[in-house]
C-alpha cells in the first residue's frame, strides 16, 4: 500500500473512520476521534479494554491506513531495555577481537548492534507505526523507561551517543488493565477505552471479517454473543471469537447441519473455557433460537 501523509488522511474523525473502514476496521465515533487526535496532536494513543475488543487490530488498521510498516513490541513480565531498545552482539564482538589480533578494532560498530523494536523505529528513514502491546504486563521500571522514549523519541547508547528519530513515529499502546498504569504515562497519551460493540456494529464487523457468512447469520451471531457476554463468564468471548463462530457455523451448515444445531456444535470456537461451557450449555439452545428468531 502506498505511503500517505498522515495529515491528509486525518482531516476529520469521519475521514479517519471511513479510511479505517477501507482497511476492514469499523471504528465508532469515539475511537475515530481518539485516533484523529493522536495523529494530529503527535501524541501516543493509549487503548484500554477487555481482551478481544480489537485493540491490536486498531493499531494494525492505523498502520494500513497510513501505508506504514508496523513495528510491534510485545510486553511481558521481566521485559527490559535489552529486549526493547538494543543489545550488543557479544559473540560477534568476541570473535572480532580474536580475529583482529594486534589491529585496532571498533567493537561498538554498527555491525555489532542488534536493534530491538524501539531502536528500529527511531532509525527507520521514514515514519513507522509502533505498537507497544499489553504494556500492563511489563514491570513499573519498564514503563518508566518507555516514558523517556515517548517524551523525546530518542535513545541514548552510552558507547554511541544519542539517537533521535528521523521521523517521529506514531505510537499505539494497548492495555488489558490487569494493573493500573502510571499517571505519568496516561497523561502523555491520548486515551480511549474500547468497549464491546453493540449488536448492529458487531454484525457489520462479522460481515466484513468473516469469509462467507450470510447477513442473517451475522445478525444472529451478534445477538447471541451479546446475550452470552451479559452472563458472568470467566472469559467473555471477544469479537474475533464471534467472527470465528459465524464462520464455523456456516461451514457446518453447508456440511448438512440444520441451523440451531450448527451453532451449538460450533460453540467451541466461541467459548474456550470448560467451566463457562458447562455454565452456558443448558441455556445455549434457547439463546440461539431467540437470536435466530
Amino acid at each position: 500500500m502506498p505511503e500517505v501523509n498522515a495529515e491528509t488522511v486525518a482531516t476529520s474523525p469521519e475521514a479517519v473512520a471511513s479510511h479505517l473502514a477501507t482497511s476492514r476496521y469499523l471504528a465508532d465515533d469515539s475511537l475515530a476521534t481518539a485516533i484523529f487526535l493522536a495523529i494530529r496532536l503527535g501524541k501516543p494513543l493509549l487503548l484500554e479494554g477487555a481482551p478481544g475488543v480489537g485493540k491490536t487490530e486498531a493499531a494494525k488498521a492505523v498502520a494500513e491506513l497510513l501505508g506504514r510498516d508496523l513495528v510491534r513490541l510485545q510486553c511481558y513480565e521481566g521485559i527490559d531495555a535489552a529486549h526493547a531498545l538494543y543489545e550488543w552482539n557479544y559473540q560477534r564482538q568476541l570473535l572480532a577481537i580474536r580475529h583482529a589480533g594486534e589491529h585496532e578494532i571498533d567493537i561498538y560498530d554498527d555491525r555489532f548492534l542488534i536493534a530491538r523494536p524501539l531502536l528500529q523505529v527511531l532509525r527507520a528513514p521514514e515514519q513507522r507505526v509502533l505498537l507497544v502491546d499489553e504494556i500492563d504486563r511489563s514491570d513499573h521500571e519498564f514503563e518508566a523507561l518507555l516514558l523517556e522514549f515517548l517524551s523525546d523519541f530518542q535513545i541514548s547508547i552510552p558507547e554511541r551517543g544519542t539517537i533521535r528519530a528521523t521521523a517521529q513515529p506514531i505510537v499505539i499502546l494497548t492495555s488489558n488493565r490487569t494493573r493500573e498504569l502510571a499517571e505519568a504515562l496516561r497523561r502523555r497519551c491520548v486515551y480511549h477505552w474500547i468497549g464491546y460493540p453493540d449488536a448492529e456494529r458487531e454484525a457489520a464487523i462479522i460481515m466484513l471479517r468473516a469469509g462467507d457468512v450470510a447477513e442473517g447469520t451475522a445478525r444472529a451471531v451478534a445477538a447471541a454473543v451479546q446475550t452470552i457476554r451479559a452472563r458472568p463468564l470467566a472469559k467473555p468471548p471477544g469479537i474475533a471469537e464471534a467472527v470465528e463462530w459465524a464462520n464455523a457455523a456456516t461451514i457446518l451448515e453447508k456440511g448438512g447441519s440444520p441451523w440451531p444445531e450448527a451453532f451449538r456444535r460450533a460453540i467451541g470456537v466461541l467459548i474456550k473455557d470448560e467451566e463457562d461451557l458447562s455454565y452456558i450449555a443448558p441455556e445455549l439452545g434457547r439463546i440461539v433460537e431467540e437470536a435466530l428468531a
Binding site: P13, L37, L41, V190, Y191
Partner: protein
C-alpha cells in the same frame, strides 16, 4: 492578567472542577484538551465530550462520575453530580491513589458508627501482640514462597555466562580473559493476597486480622488486602501508612459493611471480575480469613473458590471455627469447596495465623487429605 481568550475559560474551569473531585489532571492535559477542541472544530457538544474523554483520560471505573461532572459543567445540570449508585449488586471500593482525599472527606462527615469499630481496635491492643507482630513483620519477607523471575542477578558460581559484563572486562584487560562473570535467574517472593471477612459472625476476630494485615503490608514486598462482607473493599493503600493506629483507622473508615451479613460467593466473583484484582491472585499465596458460613445457596461460592484456586499458587482458608477441636468441615459449603483448598486451618488466634503464614513456603498435604484423616 491572563492573555487567554474568554472562550478558553470553560475548558480551564472543567480541568479545575475535575481536580477538585480527585481526578489527577495535569496542566498539559488541559492544554491538550483545548488543542483537541480547536482541532475538532468543534461542531457540537459531542465533539467537546470526545475531546475531554481522549485527553483528560478518566479511569474507566470513574467514567460515570466524569460524565456527570461534564453534564453539570457544560450543560449546567446540577442534579447530575450524584455519587455512587443505589443498586443491589456487590460494589467494589478501590482505594487507589487519587481517591484518598475524597475518602477522607466522607469519613469526617460520618464519624459515629464507623469510629465505634475503631474504638474496639485500640482497646484490644495488647503489648504482647505488638511484639509478636513486629517479629512477624521482620521474618515475613524471607518466609514467603518464592518463584524464579525473568531477571538475572550476578552470582559467584553456578550460573550462565554473562557475556555483556565479561566482554567489558576483557576489553578493559586489553584482550586478556579474566575469570568469567556469571549470572543466574533471580528468585522473587510470591505475592500475598489476604481476603478478610468482616461480617457479623467474624466480629470477634476482625480487629486481630486487620493488625495482621497491617504487618503484612508493611513487611511483604507485594501484598494486597481486601475486606468482604456484603461488599468488597480494597484497603491496601490505607494500610501502607507506617503508624498502625492511623492505618487501621483509615482502613476501618473505608469499609462500609462492618458486622453485616456475608455474601462470600458474589463478592469473591466480583473480585475475580476486575482484571486488575484477579491478575494479582495469579501465582500468589491467597489466604481467605472467614468462617465460610455462606447464606443461602453456595453455588457461587463454589465457582469463585474454584476460579481463585486455579489462579493462585496456594489457596488457604483460615476459619476461627477450626480453633475448636471438635470442628469438622461438614457444612454443605465447606464440603463443596474443600477439594479446591490447599489448606483449611485454624484462624482463631493471631499466633496460629502468624505461624501458618510464616510456613507458607513449606509444602503441606492438601486440605482434603488432612481432614479426611481427622474425620
Amino acid at each position: 492578567m491572563s492573555a487567554l481568550p474568554n472562550a478558553a475559560s470553560p475548558f480551564l474551569g472543567f480541568g479545575r472542577l475535575l481536580r477538585r473531585y480527585g481526578f489527577a489532571i495535569a496542566p498539559e492535559q488541559v492544554s491538550g484538551f483545548m488543542q483537541a477542541v480547536t482541532l475538532l472544530g468543534p461542531r457540537s457538544m459531542a465533539d467537546i465530550r470526545e475531546a475531554a474523554l481522549a485527553t483528560l483520560a478518566p479511569p474507566p471505573d470513574r467514567r460515570d462520575e466524569f460524565e456527570a461532572h461534564f453534564q453539570s459543567h457544560f450543560y449546567g445540570s446540577t442534579s447530575a453530580v450524584v455519587e455512587g449508585d443505589a443498586d443491589e449488586e456487590t460494589r467494589i471500593k478501590d482505594d487507589g491513589g487519587a481517591d484518598d482525599q475524597r475518602i477522607e472527606a466522607e469519613h469526617s462527615q460520618e464519624g459515629g458508627e464507623l469510629s465505634s469499630a475503631l474504638e474496639q481496635l485500640s482497646t484490644r491492643d495488647f503489648q504482647r501482640d505488638d511484639d509478636r507482630l513486629t517479629a512477624f513483620q521482620r521474618k515475613l519477607p524471607s518466609a514467603l514462597p518464592a518463584r524464579r523471575s525473568f531477571r538475572t542477578v550476578r552470582t559467584p558460581s553456578r550460573g550462565k555466562l554473562d557475556l555483556r559484563r565479561s566482554l567489558r572486562e576483557i576489553v578493559s584487560a586489553d584482550g586478556d580473559v579474566p575469570s568469567p562473570l556469571l549470572r543466574r535467574r533471580q528468585t522473587v517472593p510470591r505475592k500475598l493476597l489476604l481476603l478478610i471477612d468482616v461480617s457479623g459472625s467474624m466480629k470477634l476476630h476482625t480487629a486481630d486480622y486487620l493488625k495482621l494485615a497491617h504487618a503484612i503490608v508493611q513487611g511483604a514486598d507485594r501484598a494486597e488486602i481486601f475486606t468482604f462482607g456484603t461488599r468488597l473493599t480494597r484497603i491496601t493503600t490505607a494500610l501502607r501508612i507506617r503508624d498502625r493506629d492511623q492505618a487501621l483507622a483509615r482502613a476501618a473508615a473505608q469499609v462500609d459493611d462492618w458486622d453485616g451479613g456475608t455474601r462470600m460467593g458474589p463478592t469473591l466473583l466480583a473480585f475475580l471480575s476486575v482484571p486488575r484484582f484477579s491478575s494479582f491472585a495469579r501465582g500468589a499465596a491467597v489466604v481467605v480469613l472467614s468462617d465460610a458460613l455462606e447464606r443461602g445457596d453456595h453455588a457461587e461460592l463454589e465457582t469463585a473458590i474454584r476460579r481463585l484456586s486455579a489462579r493462585a499458587f496456594r489457596l488457604s482458608l483460615a476459619t476461627p471455627l477450626a480453633g475448636d477441636p471438635r470442628f469438622r468441615p461438614v457444612t454443605a459449603a465447606l464440603r463443596a469447596i474443600l477439594p479446591d483448598l490447599d489448606d483449611l486451618i485454624d484462624g482463631s488466634s493471631l499466633t496460629s495465623l502468624i505461624d501458618f503464614i510464616l510456613s507458607l513456603a513449606r509444602p503441606a498435604p492438601a486440605a482434603s487429605t488432612i481432614w479426611k484423616r481427622v474425620s
